[in-house]
């Protein structure tokens, strides 16, 4: 057990913080520690968690992607239009279309990065502008409300009536999220390709000398994120029951912050699915708790931002490092 904690410090700390916050909130509010609220939290977080595990794969491979959230918006539009064209479709065709469209957009990033040696932040900032600009241009900023019925109908997978008469429900996005999380975990920890992604992110030159296909790594990582972004886009449309072209604009940075809070490293080679999920949950729980405590919603973001800032500061700081005149051992090598 101690070994487990030592090997997953970030996750352990995050978990402890979440437990601590939860305990406080359980005493401070009546509603926090209820099944209904727990399920709500999952329902709200599902889309971000799907984004997060996708982004995690790119971060592990040493890249970064700014474009995935607007790519998801593009996917929403493409999927809605295609579904209309094929006469409605269903969950299977919807997921297939969204997933493939997402993969396509992700592969564009990988192609630019690989073929022209553009570093990922430059390439994806460019595609961010291209995707978003073209989306707003062609849609003229108009939202789609007449989505197929199957897409806008809430799918409740599990429900239970609570003592106070309210219903605790788990909806479809949560199940999809769970599948995405499980598959991503399986992929990056239990397949050789997943381990190669870690190795590539950790030491690209070392990986190259082992004959690992660098191109394949980029395409797989960005393709994976594209797929997750596509699925998340569809889930968000389902949840919101509409497609608004700029609904996900700006989401990329929130997700990035949560993933890195979960221990992933910009630069590659590090990060776990568990940490990533905990990172998103910490942010959601904080917002949820503040909400229940009756704090003004305008203050949420401020407090969340402060928490992330403090968390990043503390997790990067070693105490001796904060003292100006001391240098870390091995620092001078």
């Amino acid at each position: 057990m101690r070994k487990l904690v030592a090997a997953h410090t970030t996750e352990a700390v995050l978990f402890a913080v979440i437990i601590a916050i939860s305990i406080v909130l359980s005493f401070a509010t009546e509603r926090f520690f209820t099944l209904g609220n727990a399920f709500d939290l999952l329902n709200i977080s599902a889309v971000n968690i799907i984004f997060a595990v996708g982004l995690l794969v790119v971060l592990i491979a040493g890249g970064i992607d700014i474009s995935f959230a607007v790519a998801a918006s593009v996917v929403q539009y493409v999927t809605a239009l295609l579904l209309e064209r094929i006469g409605g479709g269903g969950w299977v065709s919807g997921l297939l279309i969204a997933g493939s469209a997402g993969i396509g957009l992700g592969l564009i990033n990988a192609f630019l990065i690989l073929r022209f040696r553009i570093i990922s932040i430059v390439a994806t900032i460019a595609t961010f502008n291209v995707y978003f600009g073209l989306l707003m241009f062609f849609t003229r900023g108009v939202s789609i409300y007449n989505l197929p019925d199957w897409l806008t109908t809430r799918v409740i997978v599990y429900e239970r009536e609570m003592a106070d008469g309210s219903w605790a429900e788990i909806t479809l996005p949560v199940v999809v999220m769970a599948v995405c999380v499980a598959v991503t975990w399986l992929f990056i920890t239990r397949t050789t390709t997943g381990r190669q992604l870690y190795a590539f992110g950790d030491n690209p030159e070392g990986a190259r000398r082992f004959g690992i296909n660098i191109g394949a790594m980029q395409f797989i990582a960005f393709g994976w994120l594209g797929m997750m972004a596509g699925i998340a886009g569809l889930m968000q449309a389902h949840y919101a029951q509409e497609v608004v072209p700029n609904a996900l604009y700006g989401r990329e940075l929130d997700v990035l912050a949560a993933v890195v809070l979960g221990g992933a490293r910009l630069g590659g080679g590090k990060g776990t699915v568990l940490g990533c999920v905990l990172g998103v949950l910490l942010v959601s729980i904080t917002q949820n708790g503040l909400n229940l405590m009756g704090v003004s919603p305008f203050a949420f973001k401020m407090i969340v931002g402060a928490i992330i800032l403090v968390a990043i500061t503390l997790s990067s700081a070693r105490l001796e490092n904060l003292l100006p005149m001391r240098t870390r051992k091995g620092d001078d090598r």
């Binding site: 070994k3 090997a7 920890t189 239990r190 397949t191 050789t192 390709t193 997943g194 381990r195 190669q196 870690y198 190795a199 950790d202 030491n203 030159e205 070392g206 990986a207 190259r208 000398r209 082992f210 004959g211 690992i212 296909n213 394949a216 080679g269 590090k270 005149m325 001391r326 240098t327 001078d332 090598r333």
Partner: protein
């Protein structure tokens, strides 16, 4: 070219290369090189930096593809196009100089990485990986916690992991690229024992090392490269250190002891009882004007840590530093520089110079205050300062604005020295100034050192190559495990005696 007979003349080479040519951006890195390794032999591949050793290894392992016409024959079968995958399946393994390990992954995954590579996705079987790793470590007689990430381990242990990785999967021939560069003597001895074991079990080992003493001790044959071309293949028996240096550089050197009596010069720097827990203890010495004080000792002797403390980058826990009669306590290296202490880092690539930046910017980096006019940097003063030092130290450059990384190791080191001389120091600490400098260019560096001492500068010369301090210092301090182990006077002792004391 003189070819000699390999041990077991009728044996077939395990690996044979012919007509290897390799060009990078117009520069021919390998010119018509041939290379042969016999089964089970310990072969040494020697050459200066940039002579093509590493390139050759990368061709053999398929990282680089040689120009058309190349022939690679492994165990009697021609290999038409080598890839890292094919090299591994043939049993060609490399322990790279930079180890090429994955710090965030576990020891087990690092050692059994071969089972993780390959294009087809498969599921990872962790118990099998752990077993492979433990077996490989057992072969080396080492136990490590294979489930911990590699980054938890020190460099020597990482080296062992790299060796263990090379032993996985039926190695037939193992290349070791400068394997001892970061090891202490006892660790090196352990490594050499492993090499013997490997060789006895029929695995050929190709040793690439810059420590020539080891070359003589361990190999049976020696292949020398110079400027990307083959100089020759020689039996090690009867080979001397100076002969190998000659072969590598194509020049002859004769060295004499430079030490002279400086005991009447005034003291510049005095250190009393300096200590830092875990690094060094109770260091006391005096450094005089015009003196070159040599400090030698193995890795872990605390010499670099001592230098960094004198340079103000670390603070002593106990003891005093007196500079020109005044007790000093540096809170940072900025104060040390201002007081007249300069430190040339042993790690020129990462710390000593700012590789991507220009020659001029590197040279003025530590003495910006000297090129100000008003509050702004004066381009005229900057150019003048740079030109003066470039001329003074005989640095061969194209344009002042060229990146410093375009210069050779020797010229880079001259710029690094010039950077510190421009600060007008009283004490100059040179930490391993010949690391990454070609054998042929080292003499030039030491000529500069001698000239500076002549002009009155007090110099501390740190090196783990005993001959360097023996020939170039006035006195030699031997450090061991953070303590002062002894003083040597080059005029009164022989090189052998000091080496015996240091490597004991």
């Amino acid at each position: 070219m003189d070819m000699t007979t390999a041990p077991g003349e009728d044996a077939r080479p395990i690996l044979s290369l012919r007509n290897i040519n390799m060009t990078f951006g117009g520069v021919r890195a390998l010119k018509n090189v041939s290379f042969e390794v016999m089964p089970g032999e310990v072969h040494c591949l020697a050459g200066e930096n940039g002579s093509g050793k590493s390139t050759l290894i990368k061709v053999i392992t398929g990282v680089y593809r040689p120009a058309a016409g190349a022939e690679i024959v492994f165990d009697g079968a021609a290999v038409s196009s080598m890839t890292p995958g094919i090299a591994q399946s043939l049993g060609i393994q490399v322990i790279w100089q930079d180890l090429a390990l994955f710090p965030e992954m576990t020891v087990a995954e690092n050692i059994a990485f071969q089972t993780l590579s390959g294009a087809r996705p498969r599921f990872v079987r962790y118990p099998a990986i752990r077993k492979i790793a433990e077996d490989a470590l057992a072969r080396l007689g080492v136990t490590l916690d294979v489930d911990r990430p590699l980054k938890d381990f020190a460099i020597a242990q990482r080296q062992i992991v790299a060796i263990a990785r090379a032993l996985v999967g039926e190695a037939r021939i193992v290349f070791m690229d400068e394997p001892t560069a970061s090891l202490t003597q006892s660790e090196t001895d352990h490594l050499l024992a492993i090499v013997h074991t490997l060789s006895a079990s029929g695995v050929a080992v190709v040793f690439v090392s810059h420590r020539l003493a080891e070359v003589l001790e361990i190999s049976s044959r020696l292949t020398v490269l110079r400027d990307g071309a083959l100089v020759g293949v020689y039996p090690v028996e009867g080979m001397t250190q100076s002969r190998i240096t000659e072969l590598m550089t194509g020049r002859t050197f004769d060295q004499s002891v430079r030490a002279h009596d400086i005991s009447r010069n005034p003291v510049v720097l005095s250190v009393q009882g300096l200590s830092r827990p875990g690094e060094f203890r109770d260091i006391s010495f005096e450094l005089r004007r015009g003196e070159t004080l040599g400090i030698t000792g193995l890795l872990g002797s605390g010499r670099t840590e001592l230098a960094l403390t004198l340079f103000g980058m670390r603070q002593p826990a106990a003891g005093t530093i007196t500079l020109e009669g005044k007790a000093v306590r540096f809170a940072s290296n900025r104060q040390a520089i201002a007081a007249g202490v300069a430190y040339l880092s042993e790690d020129r690539l990462a710390l000593g110079l700012n590789q991507p930046q220009s020659i001029a910017d590197n040279l003025v980096m530590a003495s910006l205050n000297r090129i100000l006019s008003g509050r702004l940097i004066s381009p005229t003063k900057k150019r003048a300062l740079v030109s003066r030092w470039i001329a003074d130290l005989g640095v061969k450059i194209g344009q002042q604005e060229d990146a410093i990384s375009t210069l050779s190791g020797g010229n880079q080191q001259r710029v690094a020295i010039a950077k510190w001389l421009a600060t007008d120091p009283k004490v100059l600490i040179l930490d391993s100034p010949t690391v990454g400098v070609d054998v042929g260019a080292r003499a030039g560096i030491f000529e500069i050192v001698a000239r500076l001492a002549e002009a009155g500068l007090a110099i501390i010369l740190i090196s783990d190559e005993v001959p360097e301090v023996y020939f170039n210092a006035d006195r030699v301090l031997h450090m061991e495990k953070g303590r002062m182990a002894g003083w040597h006077d080059p005029r009164a002792t022989t090189l052998k005696d000091i080496e015996a004391a240091v490597y004991a």
